[in-house]
Amino acid sequence: MTTGADAIDPLLDAEPCGFVSFSDDGAVRVANQTLLDMLGYARAEIVGKHIETILTVGSRIFYQTHLFPLLRLHGSAEEIFLLLRAKGGEDVAVLANAIRRERSGEWITDAVLLRLIERRKFEDALLEAKRAAEEATASANSHRAKVQGANEQLEQQALELELSQEQLLAQTVELERQRSLADDANRAKSSFLAMMSHELRTPLNAIGGYVQLLEMGVHGPVTSAQAEALGRVTRSQQHLLRLINDLLNLARIESGRVDYDVQSISLNDVVQATVPMIEPQLATRALRLEVDVPLGLLAAVDREKVEQILLNLLSNAVKFTTPSGCVSVDAAPASDDDEMVELRVRDTGVGIPANRLEAIFEPFVQVENSKAARVEGSGLGLSISREMARGMGGDISAESTLGVGSTFTIRLRRG
């Protein structure tokens, strides 16, 4: 037996976990062979020394500030993570269970030390994932700020464009130069927006994916309060994603990177395919829908895009029409041009002031009406719709009487 050491049971010596006993003043009394092997020490190098000898400095502080008080006040400590310092200087991670009790008139702490190798990797990965999630949130916030900056830039550019147009009227020579400048700015803006939207969608999809994993309980059980909070995160993430998708669409269209698959399509088919999509909103707001589209009327259009335009106009009509009003859709050949057909959406809604009828087709514009509650949306729908109608050789225009209702007319090439 080594000087100062207690005798050690051969069975304890060979247990598949480290074992150490020490007195209140920290002097090691027993260390089993498993622990000695774990740390590369001979028994005589540890027994009689202070327990801090086999701890890293960080774990020594933890021992003095947490573990010793816990043992002294509570008598035991369970599942304590500690980093041991091996003789060769390397760190050895262990999980400790310890109990302090009186033996032969002296207070002794016995501790078993279970080595953590795979589990530590898992815990490191868990902490790393937590940090990554925190960083992703911070990065999403900073992207949001950038989009705001881009918006301000956009408004500023629109303002500059307006000013230059006034000058153009006075000086026709200046006109071409200014327009080309504005076009350059617009292209730069659009490609910037397209790039930013991509940048934004990546972290947003990551947020969505990780939230889904959390909701599925992949990282452990989820309480109902946590599930509710995760639901809120998901809804906000989806809302933000919709806004960004709209932005991306507009940017794509404006930069001329959209292809149109034009075919001869029945307008009645288009209307029949679109109406069911807004029926739930119609029912919620108790609105009547009237449809009058001749069966044989054809238009030369990209079917998917014209349905998107119609759905957008119908959603707007529903949003801005007070309950028990009426929304109607009709179509006819254009009265002033044999080559064109017109598809009209009318509502009995709040109406649009005459001086705003053109502005509503600008990106990010919603008509401010003190009587109507603010309506959710990006303010991009109409500008996207008009750009797409123009892309197919048509256009969209609006007429309105305040308090009576609005009519949106989509002009399309005859099919």
Partner: protein, 279 residues
Amino acid sequence: MASTTLQRNNVHVSGRGTQPMLFAHGFGCDQNMWRFVTPAFEDDYRIVLFDYVGSGKSDLSAYDAERYSTLGGYTQDVLDVCHALDLRDIIFVGHSVSSMVGVLAANREPDLFSRLLLIGPSPRYINEAPDYFGGFERSDIEGLLETMEKNYIGWANFLAPAIMRNSERPELSSELEASFCSTDPVIAKRFAEATFFADNRADLAAVTVPSLIMQCSDDMIAPSPVGEYLRRELPGSTLRTLEATGHCPHMSHPDETIEVMREYLGTPIATPSVALIAE
């Protein structure tokens, strides 16, 4: 306001004397740590115990990350408790980081305090080469933070810190573990940073309240050179080196700790003004 502070800081008052002894716990613990020494002073003093916000059974909803990012916030807790109980002529007993909290409180309102008893004090834990030896390098403190972080996984606080303070589950909150060392991991990390990255050396010279430095033998958290430094830099201080080893003599060697405290409290305060009056 007063009752709010008393609940917020889980204040307990006992003892049969009139002069208050205010005991301030250290990092990693709560007021339970004083239970081996306070009975010895109950006959002669009014004993005041409390938990800092974020520790023990304090009101965690009162935690403000900004306020408690430095020792200034903890100092305000001490002063709030003093005002709530209208304490005067206070004997302040602080362990470890609370020693410096006591120094800061005594500098803010010197009239409230009669003596500071500092157990294992250190004004700066990190070495400042070449002149100052605090005992640690910055990487050592980062090692502590890692150990703490891993332990909060083990204690299930990592994923659901709210469980431990859920009043609907008294079987958890009534247990000692629930209040002891079970602080929210974010709070514990901030307290560790506020403690171990603090540098209060410049605050020492302004202290006018007499103090006792209780230096343990072989204390790795506050080693002997730190005690010597304090004796030189802290005006009106007395240094006593205990036979007790480690960092928590009030828990490991309560008898010696009590004896040294009593002895110091029995000595008259020698200040220049008192000496002049005596002449």
